[in-house]
């Protein structure tokens, strides 16, 4: 994906709707791919994508056109994805039924559900770091840039996610 012309970004910052659409069309696919990696749901990814570009438009005056719009919108999209996970985590806590018996290896579907539910109960910041690092295998530097934190923080969150997930699974009688 090439970079947009600087003049388009200048016009975007000044609120030009045509420039905004050009920016959206140029970055939409890449941003959506990123969001899907985090939220793991197509319908949710659409909502988060709309939210991310709306936030970018609302905050356009803060964007420096000499910088990378792609990196900027990715940070915004990551935050929007985090907010989505926070909302759905509250719903997971509210609606989840107690798992009375640990699923066995024979119940692969139940086992996967238990692991997914345990993971979704982790703090969203840990979920995002673990999903991008362990599941999507993205470079730590890329994750750090998207979260706007140091690489060390990403590694720390991944470590804490693993530890918390292991604890949650052990409570369910599942040994990784």
């Amino acid at each position: 994906m090439g970079t947009l012309d600087r003049s388009i970004l200048d016009r975007f910052v000044h609120g030009d709707p045509t420039a905004f659409e050009a920016v959206y069309r140029h970055h939409e696919a890449e941003v959506r791919r990123w969001v899907v990696r985090i939220v793991r749901d197509q319908e949710a990814a659409d909502e988060v994508l709309v939210e991310a570009f709306w936030r970018a438009y609302r905050g356009r005056a803060r964007f420096d056109p000499s910088r990378s719009f792609g990196a900027w919108i990715r940070r915004i999209a990551t935050n929007a994805s985090l907010d989505h996970l926070k909302r759905t985590r509250r719903q997971t806590h509210a609606g989840a039924s107690d798992i009375r018996a640990p699923p066995t290896r024979a119940d692969d579907g139940a086992l996967r559900d238990a692991i997914a539910t345990s993971f979704r109960r982790l703090p969203p910041k840990l979920q995002v770091a673990a999903t991008l690092a362990l599941v999507e295998e993205r470079p730590y530097a890329e994750i750090a840039d998207a979260l706007d934190v140091p690489v060390g923080t990403v590694k720390s969150r991944v470590f804490r996610a693993i530890r918390a997930l292991r604890r949650n699974l052990e409570r369910l009688g599942i040994r990784p």
């Binding site: 709707p17 905004f20 659409e21 959206y24 069309r25 939409e28 696919a29 959506r32 791919r33 899907v36 990696r37 793991r40 749901d41 197509q42 990814a45 659409d46 994508l49 709309v50 939210e51 570009f53 709306w54 438009y57 609302r58 086992l111 996967r112 559900d113 692991i115 997914a116 993971f119 673990a130 999903t131 362990l134 599941v135 693993i162 997930l165 292991r166 990784p176």
Partner: protein, 70 residues
């Protein structure tokens, strides 16, 4: 296999796959609608309005000053 690798493998099996990453439809109209939607008052707006209202009630003479600035 380390514990991290094992948990990563379990997560990859347990979490929904991302599949096709392109949206089914054009989301631009939704982005436009969202950008044009009337924004309600934020908590900051409400807070400032409440403070001004309280000051005007406590000091009615300030109403003239407020009206001048408006």
């Amino acid at each position: 296999m380390t514990e991290e690798e094992r948990l990563a493998e379990l997560l990859r099996e347990a979490l929904p796959t991302t599949g096709a990453t392109d949206s089914q439809g054009d989301l631009w109209p939704q982005v436009v609608a969202r950008s044009r939607a009337r924004r309600g008052w934020s908590w900051l707006d409400l807070g400032i309005a409440a403070v001004i209202a309280a000051l005007v009630i406590m000091r009615p003479a300030w109403l003239r000053l407020l009206a001048f600035h408006l």
